[in-house]
Every structure is written in structure tokens, then in C-alpha cells.
């Protein structure tokens, strides 16, 4: 076999490792059997490298291929979905690695490796993954460089990695041009049949007791908020989501019976402006602080101050919003009163008794509300993540028997009681609080911040927010909702809130988490959020105006075509060591002669050149020989000194061809 075609064993060892690392992020998505099969193939490859006498014969390869094919068709019978294709790609990569004998095979494996790296972005575009992919690109490129080196060099040289890293860095400007100018579709770039909505959680448009307490087990981010000014205090951070009017005694749902009308309210505090970056969710509503005032263009405000928007399902969406934290919503419409007083059939006598007792003790609706809140505060109610299972009549059972519940139990029972008392009321779901990330100075609102509260209509203040949960567990509202799920998994026990100064390690882990989240948030905002609109805005700033996709593509090609020679020029300029003044002078001398048509070959030595010059121009014999003698002494001889340099410089300056 020709030596140019052989692969160094060291390269194959490293390639096996790098291939495993390249596919590694897919392991979480692939069926465990596929992952194990892939690792087994790599292990087999490694063994055949380690024990050189074990040759990978055709028979073995054939057997492994058949087993892999059977496995893939067992796990994914129809090869449907992205996962099946990834499984196929991973296993084929492993098999190709097994039969890697010649340099050509190696190149195929490396290119497949690059391709596999791209497939990660179909699932995830977080900054950590991007960093990982960058490292893997460097590793693959390093292997490619190492493989192209002469077979006489042994071992793996870090040199190759350094070279690969510098190659990747050098390609950054081109990457930026492509990033800024590549024509965008108005949808998300990766919306190529990727199962985006799987595994996403979020609020739904109805609640039953227990639905939110399930949701809050997820630490997934619901949205992030950047405030234009200081963030409002935790007790004012009520992020309004779906408003629920109708109840059957168990389930609370939205209503469509409200007619659209001019929505106005009287604002009593300065405006608060902020930008929300909503994580992908299957819903079409936006969240805003109570109450929203100025909405993004794509949004519509419903009469109950819920906001819906078009085309935002299952993709990350960023919007600006302005809210007023104190307000008066004005008079109540007939329809709203009717809906706000709807009472389910399962109101029990003891609930009615309780309400009439409060009514008799109070002179106004407001006083009655306070009575109710006092009831929740003074009676033995517990705030728990794991409420006991409710039977036929959850409100009654919760109020008088179990007395253990989560926010939705409190909000729904409270609202029911208010309706019995004749006070128009409704349940509002959304999020409450959020964690302020000091590193990025923004608020992270997680699914675990999901919350439900009540709104009652009072003559003197309009729709007024009442949060019965705050009466039972004020920590929930005042602090960031930080709890340890491990400590809270026993049925019915009250929530144990994490204390601020937990162990140092926990603090550190939290700090790290916040740091990553801050990086990710900027990443989403500036890189992944670079949409068609932003692109057009940028082009307008550059004075190019709106460009069609075709023109944009042409501009991209043109910019790249200009950039590459420029980069090459700059790199060459940078790599040149500042020439020695002696060399510079000699080059000047050569340039003089070049103008007269006597061109020095790049490989020509000074003596040969001088001889040639004198043959062509005998009149120049004396100065040319003097310059050459000086140059030789300075550049190749032992003699050096300012005197000699000066004399040489002088000679070159005086030289006229």
C-alpha cells in the first residue's frame, strides 16, 4: 500500500474518541439500544486498534452491519421522524469508522462527523451546545490536519489542534457575513418538521385542582423579562395569563361570551416598560404584568385583559410591553356581572352558611373580602405541593376538611365563595414572581412560578386582585419561589421553603446556573433572535434598504468574495516578520533593477543575481558588486555593525539603475 494512503494508528485512536464525543449529545434523544449499539461498534473499533492482530474482516463488518440494520428497524420500524434518521446516521458513522482503512475512508468519516455536528442544532440551539460543537469542529479539523501530515511524524501533536483552532478563528469573519446576510425565512430557521412541541409544558386554558401543582415541578423557563427600569418588587410581579370565568364546580374555563369593546382603564401609577422573551409553548397568549397598557402590534387585548397573539405557537417570541401596576378598571358591564356571578351547582350549605356569616359581620363588599382572607389566614390551612386527592366536591372538601392545597385550590375556592356572596369575581392564571438574574439584570420566570389568583369587582376600585395564597403562605409571594422538590414530595406536607443561605456549594451551583442562563438569554436575544425583521433593520442602517432574498444572497456571496482575499492579505501581512532593515534595503535595490527589467528570481542567491546583472549591464558592475558584497557580509557573514549597515544603506540609496 502506498504510504500516502495509510492512516496513522494514533489518528484512528483519536478519531474513535472524537466520534463518540461528536455523537454524544444525541444519546439523550436516541433509544438506549441504539446508543449502546453505537458505543459497542466504537468499542469494537477500539479493540481492533489495540490488538493489532485482530483484523476487521469483511465477515465481521458484514455481521455488524446486519445487526445494526435489524436493530434500527426494530426500534424505528418505519424510519419515521427525526430520531430514526439520527439513529441511522450515528450507526452508519460508527460502521464507516470500523472500515476506515485508507485516507479516503478517513475523510468520509470526518465529513460525516461535521454533518452529525450540524444535526444537533435541529434539537437544541443553546449556547453550551454551540460551544461544544465549536470544540468538536476544532477536534475534527485537527484530526484532518494530523491525518494529512507525513506518516513519518509519530504521535498526536497538539500543534495540529492549535492549527485547527486558528483555522476556525480565521473563518469567523466569513461566518459573521453569512450570519448577517443569509436570507431568513419569516418563520424560525429550523422549522423543518422538527417535533418542537414535545415535552413543552405551560399553562393551559383551564385549571382543575392539582393542575398547577403538577406544572410547578418543572424548572423549565417560561419566559425572561428585561425591564427598562428597575424591576418591580416581588409582590407586584403578577404575570397575567388566561382569565377563567366559568366553572362546573371542579374545572374552571375561559369564556368567549364577552363582547369586544373599547378597553380603557384609569391608570394610577407611572408606566413600566419591559421586553419579554417567551420560550416556545403550544399556546397563543402573551404574558404581561397587571395590567397591560401598550401592546406589541401582533397582540390583541381581550376585555378581561388577557392578551392573545397570532403566529406565536411553538416558537420563541420576543415582544415589548408597557404595563400600569396600579389602576382602576371602571364600571362593570351587565355581561361581566352575569359571568362573574355564575355559581356552580355543587355549593354546599356549609359554604353558604360561612358566606352569610361573613355578610352579616361586614358592611361592605371590601370588608367581606377581608373577612374571607382572614378566614384563610387564621384557620389551619396548609400550603402544599402535594395536596390530597379531591373527591366530588373539591371546594367544599378543601375548605372544611383537608385544608391542604396549592394556589389553585385557594384561588378557585375563594372565587366560588365570593360569587356566593354576590361579589363578581374570576380566577386569573399566570405566573407570579420570578428570579432576578444579577448577571444579566433580567428576570427569569420558570414554570415553577405558575400561579393562580382571584379578581373581585369592588365598587370603589373596579377589578381588584386578591391573592388568597398570600394570606396562607406570604413567603410564596414575597420571595422568589425557591423550594426543594426532594423535601416536598411527601403527600400533604406544607411547603418547605429553601432558606437563603443554604450550603456554599448550592450557592455556587445557583450562581453558575444563573451565569449560564444569562449567557443563554443574550444568545437567544442577539443571535437566535436575529430574525428577518432585524436583518432588514440592519440593512436599513447600512443604507441598503429592504433587499429581496435573492439580492441578499447575492450580497452575501459578494461580501464573502471580497472578504476572503482581504483576509488572506491580512493574514499574510500579519505572518510576515517585520523585515530586517538590511533585507528591506536589499529589496529596494532589487526593485530598482526590476524596473529596468532585471528581475531577481525568488530563489536566486545574491551572488548569482549580481553576476547576471553585471552580464546584462556591465556599466553597473562597480555599484552592484559593492552592494552585493555588503549584503552578503551583513546577512550571511559574521560581520555586523552599525557602521557596515550604514554604509550598505548609503550604497543602496545612491544606487541608480
Amino acid at each position: 500500500m502506498n504510504s500516502a494512503n495509510q492512516i496513522k494508528p494514533a489518528v484512528l485512536y483519536h478519531l474513535t474518541l472524537v466520534t463518540a464525543l461528536v455523537v454524544a449529545p444525541h444519546f439523550q434523544r436516541l433509544d438506549l439500544r441504539i446508543t449502546l449499539a453505537f458505543l459497542a461498534v466504537l468499542f469494537l473499533r477500539w479493540m481492533t486498534l489495540y490488538f493489532a492482530q485482530w483484523k476487521t474482516g469483511r465477515l465481521l463488518l458484514f455481521a455488524v452491519t446486519i445487526i445494526s440494520a435489524v436493530l434500527i428497524f426494530t426500534v424505528y420500524p418505519l424510519l419515521m421522524g427525526l430520531e430514526a434518521k439520527i439513529a441511522l446516521l450515528s450507526l452508519m458513522l460508527g460502521l464507516k469508522l470500523m472500515e476506515c482503512r485508507r485516507r479516503r475512508d478517513l475523510m468520509v468519516v470526518l465529513l460525516l462527523g461535521y454533518f452529525t455536528l450540524i444535526t444537533h442544532f435541529l434539537f437544541d440551539q443553546e449556547i453550551l451546545l454551540v460551544g461544544y460543537v465549536f470544540i468538536m469542529v476544532i477536534a475534527l479539523t485537527g484530526l484532518m490536519i494530523e491525518a494529512s501530515r507525513s506518516t513519518h511524524t509519530t504521535g498526536f501533536r497538539l500543534n495540529s489542534l492549535r492549527y485547527a483552532a486558528s483555522l476556525v478563528v480565521q473563518s469567523l469573519p466569513i461566518m459573521l457575513v453569512l450570519f448577517f446576510l443569509f436570507p431568513r425565512s419569516s418563520g424560525p430557521l429550523w422549522n423543518l418538521g422538527v417535533d418542537n412541541s414535545t415535552g413543552q409544558t405551560g399553562l393551559s386554558d383551564n385549571i382543575t385542582p392539582g393542575s398547577i401543582s403538577n406544572l410547578i415541578r418543572s424548572r423549565a423557563v417560561a419566559f425572561r423579562v428585561d425591564f427598562d427600569q428597575d424591576a418591580p418588587p416581588p409582590r407586584q410581579r403578577y404575570w397575567r395569563g388566561p382569565v377563567l370565568w366559568h366553572t362546573d364546580g371542579n374545572r374552571w374555563t375561559r369564556t368567549t361570551a364577552l363582547q369586544a369593546k373599547q378597553i380603557t382603564y384609569q391608570s394610577l401609577s407611572p408606566p413600566v416598560s419591559y421586553q419579554v422573551t417567551l420560550e416556545p409553548s403550544p399556546n397563543n397568549w402573551l404574558y404581561a404584568l397587571d395590567l397591560p397598557e401598550i401592546l406589541p402590534p401582533e397582540a390583541t387585548l381581550l376585555p378581561d385583559f388577557q392578551i392573545t397573539a397570532k403566529d406565536i405557537r411553538n416558537r420563541r417570541h420576543r415582544y415589548s410591553m408597557t404595563s400600569r401596576l396600579e389602576y382602576h378598571t371602571g364600571p362593570l358591564s351587565r355581561r361581566e356581572r352575569q359571568l362573574g356571578l355564575q355559581v356552580p351547582d355543587n355549593i354546599t350549605p356549609r359554604m353558604r352558611d360561612l358566606v352569610s356569616q361573613w355578610r352579616s359581620e361586614s358592611t361592605s363588599d371590601r370588608e367581606l373580602v377581608n373577612h374571607a382572607l382572614r378566614f384563610f389566614r387564621t384557620e389551619l390551612f396548609y400550603y402544599t405541593l402535594t395536596p390530597p386527592l379531591m373527591g366530588e366536591n373539591p371546594s367544599d372538601q378543601f375548605l372544611f376538611e383537608s385544608r391542604r392545597g396549592f394556589c389553585e385550590h385557594y384561588a378557585t375556592s375563594f372565587t366560588s365563595l365570593m360569587r356566593v356572596a354576590g361579589i363578581p369575581s374570576r380566577v386569573v392564571t399566570g405566573y407570579q414572581g420570578g428570579e432576578l438574574n444579577p448577571l444579566g439584570n433580567y428576570l427569569i420566570v420558570r414554570q415553577s412560578d405558575a400561579h393562580a389568583w382571584s379578581e373581585v369587582w369592588l365598587e370603589e376600585s373596579g377589578w381588584t386582585r386578591v391573592d388568597p395564597t398570600a394570606a396562607v403562605a406570604p413567603e410564596r409571594i414575597e420571595q422568589s419561589f425557591d423550594f426543594d422538590l426532594e423535601e416536598n414530595n411527601i403527600l400533604g406536607i406544607p411547603v418547605i421553603f429553601s432558606t437563603a443561605d443554604s450550603s456554599l456549594l448550592k450557592q455556587f451551583a445557583k450562581q453558575f446556573r444563573l451565569g449560564i442562563d444569562a449567557a443563554n438569554a443574550s444568545w437567544h436575544r442577539w443571535v437566535l433572535g436575529y430574525s428577518k425583521e432585524q436583518q432588514q433593520k440592519l440593512l436599513q442602517h447600512l443604507g441598503l434598504g429592504a433587499l429581496s432574498a435573492l439580492k441578499l444572497a447575492l450580497a452575501m456571496i459578494l461580501a464573502t468574495a471580497v472578504l476572503i482575499p482581504l483576509l488572506l492579505f491580512l493574514l499574510r501581512l500579519g505572518s510576515q516578520i517585520k523585515p530586517d532593515p538590511v533585507v528591506r534595503d536589499y529589496q529596494r535595490f532589487c526593485k530598482q533593477l526590476d524596473r529596468k527589467g532585471i528581475n531577481r528570481f525568488p530563489y536566486e542567491g545574491p551572488l548569482d543575481f549580481a553576476r547576471r546583472v553585471v552580464r546584462k549591464r556591465p556599466d553597473l558592475k562597480q555599484p552592484v558588486n559593492a552592494i552585493t558584497q555588503h549584503y552578503i557580509k551583513l546577512r550571511y557573514g559574521k560581520a555586523d555593525g552599525p557602521q557596515l549597515r550604514k554604509a550598505f544603506h548609503q550604497l543602496v540609496r545612491q544606487f541608480r539603475a
Binding site: S3, S150, I632
Partner: protein, 305 residues
């Protein structure tokens, strides 16, 4: 010193007509204390060249005609039982000389070849468990016929590497050939010739070679040459560090005989083809020896730093 060497060249030029460059390279090789391989067709003066050099420097001279039945003992010598004092006595072979002409080295079997090549490398001979030093100075001038001729055992690359230089003589030009044809018998001329250089003088010159200054700029140039040979796809494999050392030594010796006080790129270029030609192979090795054209390609591809 230069005059002395020029005198040697001038005298040799009377025998080997019109081949001044080849003579200078051969002399350079001796100054650098290296062995010389001359490769060419029969009858172009390979043997005469070796003979001339021996005569001019006044070296003790031996010649071995390599044939396919030559044995190592024929080169090194053999121990013979002596009846008188009942001992084995070593009878020195032709290798115990100052200048050895190994004629048609590629006609011998590898076994005989390696006996010679080992001695060349070690400058000593070991037989019957006894090590015997070879005389000082010790040169081997080997000649070989082009590899494609019938009945040859081409020297392997590892053994070609033992030779500092490989030269081609080539046909003489018209004028030189005329002189040759009309002139006296070369053998006769050779016999009449007196040495121009003593062995002492040769040793002195050899000691001067390493003292020739090599500037950083020149080392850069040599490294660029080596690097190019290792990275260019034109070559099957690059030049070894030993080739680099050979190149620098030859360039120094060349600079000495050219009268330079320091090694110039021209000195490197002058010896490049002779020094690296037999160490280079093109990547698509065709079996035809392309060493010289490869060296020329190397020379013209690497600019002076």
C-alpha cells in the same frame, strides 16, 4: 587555500576534460569527509575520475571490481591459519586503504554491498571478534551503472543515504570530446601526474570546513528547503534530518573551495542536486530516477527567506 584547491581542479581538468563542476563537487565531497557515489553509463570516466582524485591528493588507492560472486571476505580480508606459529593471521582486504574505488557496486549481491557500506559508516572493520580501524583519511568512491541495466542489485535507500553525494558525469561536450580524442592516453597522463595536495593539507582543509560561518538566514533557508520537501505532494517522503546535515556540511565545503568566508545560498544550491538527489523520490514513483529534476524543482520552489 583556494589557490591550492583551484590548482587541484586545474590539474584534474587535464585528465577529465570539460567537467569542472563535477570535479569541484567531488572535491567538495572529500573536503566534507563524505563518500561519493558516481552513477552513470559505462565509459564516461567514472573510474578515471576516482583515480585522478587519488593521484592528485596522493592517497593510497585500491580498487575493487564488484561482481555478483564477490564475498564480504574479498573486501574486508580473511584470517588464514599460519602453519609456522600455529595461529590465525589476518590478511587485510583491499578495504584497508585511504581511497577505495568500489567499481560497479550495484553488480554485487546485497551481502557484499552491506559489508562495504558498514565499513563506510563505522570507518572500522570487525572480523573474528577483533575491531580494526581503517586508515585515515578514508574515502569510498563507488560507481554504479544506472539501475535499469541488467544484472544489478540496486542499493536500498538506507544505503544510498550513506553517500554524502551522488554525481552524474554525463557525456562531454563537443570541444571536450575533441581534446579527449586527439590528446594523449589518459592512463599515461595519470601516471605522470604529481600530487598537488598532501594528506596533511587535506586534513587541515577538512578541519576548516566546520568553521565556515553559517548565518541564521541561511539556516532558515535550509529549513525551508527541508520543510518544503516534507509538505509538497510532489515528494513521496521528505528529506530526513540527516539529509539536512549532509546539505549543510556539503555547502560549507563548497563555500571553502569557492573561497567564501561564509556559506551563501548559492553554495547550498550548488550542492543541492548532488546531496539530495539520491534521497528524493517523487510521489508517483515511476521507477525512473528523477532525483536531479526533483532537486531542481525543490531549488526553484523555495524562495530565499
Amino acid at each position: 587555500m583556494k589557490e591550492l584547491l583551484d590548482q587541484v581542479i586545474k590539474e584534474a581538468g587535464r585528465i577529465i576534460v570539460g567537467k569542472e563542476q563535477t570535479l569541484r563537487l567531488a572535491l567538495t565531497c572529500m573536503l566534507a569527509n563524505g563518500h561519493l557515489l558516481i552513477e552513470d553509463l559505462p565509459g564516461v570516466g567514472k573510474t578515471t575520475l576516482a583515480h585522478t582524485l587519488a593521484k592528485l591528493i596522493g592517497l593510497q588507492y585500491q580498487r575493487i571490481q564488484f561482481t555478483s560472486d564477490l564475498l564480504p571476505a574479498d573486501i574486508i580480508g580473511v584470517s588464514v591459519y599460519h602453519r609456522g606459529d600455529e595461529t590465525f593471521q589476518f590478511h587485510q582486504g583491499p578495504i584497508f586503504t585511504q581511497l577505495l574505488l568500489a567499481d560497479e557496486i550495484n553488480r554485487a549481491t546485497p551481502k557484499a554491498q552491506s559489508a562495504l557500506l558498514e565499513a563506510m559508516e563505522e570507518r572500522q572493520v570487525t572480523t573474528d571478534g577483533k575491531t580494526r580501524a581503517l586508515p585515515q583519511p578514508f574515502f569510498v568512491i563507488a560507481t554504479q551503472n544506472p539501475a535499469h541495466q541488467i544484472g544489478t542489485f540496486p542499493l536500498p535507500e538506507s544505503q544510498l543515504d550513506r553517500f554524502l553525494m551522488r554525481l552524474h558525469i554525463g557525456y562531454p561536450d563537443e570541444a571536450a570530446e575533441r581534446t579527449l580524442l586527439s590528446g594523449e592516453d589518459r592512463r599515461h597522463l595519470l601516471e605522470q601526474m604529481d600530487p598537488c595536495l598532501t594528506i596533511e593539507q587535506l586534513k587541515q582543509l577538512q578541519q576548516q570546513v566546520p568553521r565556515i560561518h553559517v548565518a541564521d538566514a541561511l539556516l532558515d533557508y535550509i529549513q525551508d528547503l527541508l520543510k518544503f520537501s516534507r509538505t509538497s505532494p510532489r515528494f513521496n517522503h521528505g528529506l530526513s534530518p540527516r539529509a539536512g546535515l549532509a546539505l549543510i556540511n556539503s555547502a560549507r565545503a563548497w563555500a571553502l573551495q569557492a573561497g567564501h568566508h561564509e556559506v551563501l545560498p548559492e553554495d547550498v544550491q550548488a550542492v543541492l542536486a548532488a546531496t539530495v538527489g539520491h534521497r528524493l523520490h517523487s510521489s508517483g514513483d515511476t521507477g525512473i530516477d528523477e532525483g536531479s529534476s526533483l532537486a531542481q524543482f525543490l531549488l526553484q520552489s523555495v524562495p530565499l527567506p
